[in-house]
């Protein structure tokens, strides 16, 4: 399974709405901009956001001789995307499935997609520690080059759920690459006063508490928010923003650790 993939990165969070899909897509786009071949797999079956974020709605997946062919963002085929969104007739359609059906769909995504040779495969997950996660972990156990990036927002309610996710990773034996704090402050466009809407510093203190690397904090930036739906990389469109800096650093750390052969 996933033999041609050099490195698998799981983007996880216990909470919904903390920006997992935004982090996943921006991470994939940053890796692509840096010249890597990247795959992005969206296993959030009930709420797939990746097709919209990358402006790939209405695209469809084709069956090739070696399996499903992912949807490519660019002509050079440096970013391939797979999501259940491509298999639905309408963007309003709901996937009302219980666990077993979700499990078999995810197995298919992992086994039957023809990713070709990839430097990185980024997997965007739904919130929680249930069917989707158990399935992915069980299957990725055979894939040694896999690690998890946890996303949180600074408030305690989100941190509490991320602590559960850390326990989950430890129990299932997936190495944690680090933790990213999203939505960590908002700068008023009028007076430039920075307000910590969702309090502050939670991600860093969690990283210290759980002894996992802290990968940086991404502020709330409506300019980045408005890139959603266009499939554009923050590092290209907004090179000066703090968001670009965090993603550039994250990619540097990922590639360094890949070189050293250390997945943590």
């Amino acid at each position: 399974m996933l033999e041609g993939v050099k490195r698998v990165i799981l983007v996880l969070s216990g909470k919904g709405g903390v920006g997992k899909s935004t982090v996943s897509t921006q991470l994939a786009l940053t890796l692509k901009e840096k010249g890597y071949k990247v795959g992005l797999l969206d296993i959030d079956l009930c709420g797939p956001s990746v097709p919209y974020l990358l402006n790939l709605e209405n695209q469809s997946v084709h069956q090739g001789p070696h399996g499903w062919i992912p949807v490519y963002l660019d002509k050079e085929q440096r970013l391939g995307v797979m999501s259940i969104g491509f298999l639905l007739n309408s963007r309003n359609d709901a996937v009302v499935w219980r666990g077993p059906k979700k499990t078999s769909m995810i197995k298919q995504f992992l086994e039957d997609v023809c990713w070709q040779d990839l430097d990185f495969l980024v997997i965007d997950t739904p919130p929680g520690t249930s069917d989707e996660h158990i399935t992915v972990m069980e299957n990725l156990r055979q894939v040694p080059q896999c690690s998890a990036v946890l996303v949180t927002t600074p408030q305690q309610v989100a941190i509490e759920d991320v602590r559960k996710e850390i326990t989950f990773c430890n129990k299932t034996g997936i190495p944690i690459f680090g933790i990213v704090e999203n939505m960590s402050g908002y700068e008023c466009p009028n007076c430039s006063e920075c307000t910590n809407i969702f309090s502050s510093g939670g991600g860093q203190s969690l990283a210290e508490y759980a002894k996992i690397p802290y990968l940086g904090s991404i502020p709330i930036d409506p300019r980045v928010g408005s890139l959603a739906g266009e499939g554009k990389a923050a590092i290209k469109e907004l090179p000066e923003s703090k968001t670009s800096k965090v993603f550039t650093d994250l990619v540097t750390q990922l590639t360094e650790s890949s070189k050293n052969g250390d997945m943590k």
Partner: protein, 263 residues
């Protein structure tokens, strides 16, 4: 066992739109505005988010435990007329993860509905996790006989959130759950320094109102992002009631729906 005047179901795909903090800021104040109004009678809150229970913290009863009594588990009382049941009360530590597949989650929800001594509730509010899967199907199936009044959907203004809410609307229609309406949370932000309003999550596609028109669903109203409320969810000593006119108006609309539709 379950005697409830009115049943409520809140659905949301990402917690972000769900309620208190991220998703939650709207839910929490809404819930409190229900609960702290003695005229409403007894309100129960069931946290159906098995993998990420947040209600104990949000309602300020994080360290509590559930007690067994002759008539089942007794919920934790937040105030005289507000009680809460959540899997968070059954976990040993906040680090404990509930690594369960669907059937076990369904069993837990069934237990919460059938083996908790809710007493004579006037309202039961059910907070659900994101998605349209096991928890949601189970809640609807177990409650269809008990008289589910309807679902309130919570969204933030950006399309990423709306996309999931569209799916939730389709879910409700498929399962014939009446839609009370959609409320918009974190619609804007008032800078505490200069009092200028700005949009944190830009509504590039017209926001909740446009989606409601398109999908033909009632629009309940819109709540601003209030950092004080967000922080109050983390710290139970802070006051956490959203008493803005918008919140009161939304509450009135929901109650009017319930009065019209409860038997």
């Amino acid at each position: 066992m379950l005697t409830i005047g009115t049943l409520f179901l809140t659905l949301s795909n990402t917690l972000f739109r769900n309620f208190r903090l991220s998703g939650k800021p709207s839910w929490h104040p809404l819930c409190c505005s229900f609960a702290f109004n003695p005229q409403l009678g007894l309100v129960g809150v069931l946290d159906a988010d098995i993998c990420g229970p947040s209600q104990p913290r949000v309602l300020g009863v994080g360290g509590e435990r559930v007690h067994h009594s002759g008539s089942g588990w007794s919920p934790v009382y937040v105030s005289d007329n507000l009680c809460l049941m959540s899997i968070g009360f059954l976990l040993g530590s906040p680090d404990d993860a509930v690594i369960w597949r669907g059937p076990k989650k369904n069993g837990m929800i069934k237990q919460f509905l059938s083996e908790v001594d809710w007493g004579d509730l006037d309202y039961l509010l059910i907070d659900t996790p994101p998605g349209t899967s096991d928890e949601h199907l189970s809640v609807v199936q177990y409650l269809c006989g008990a008289g589910l009044t309807g679902a309130v959907l919570v969204s933030t203004p950006q399309e990423t959130a709306l996309l999931d809410v569209r799916k939730e609307i389709s879910f409700c229609r498929k399962l014939k759950v009446p839609l009370i309406g959609v409320l918009e949370n974190m619609a804007g932000f008032l800078c505490p320094h200069c009092k200028t309003r700005s949009d944190i999550f830009p509504a590039t596609t017209g926001g909740v109102t446009a989606m409601c028109t398109e999908m033909d669903v009632p629009y309940l109203g819109s709540l601003l992002l209030q950092p004080a409320l967000a922080r109050a969810a983390d710290d139970p000593t802070l006051p956490a009631r959203d008493t803005t006119n918008a919140a009161l108006d939304i509450r009135a609309k929901i109650m009017a729906f319930c009065e019209r539709n409860s038997s």
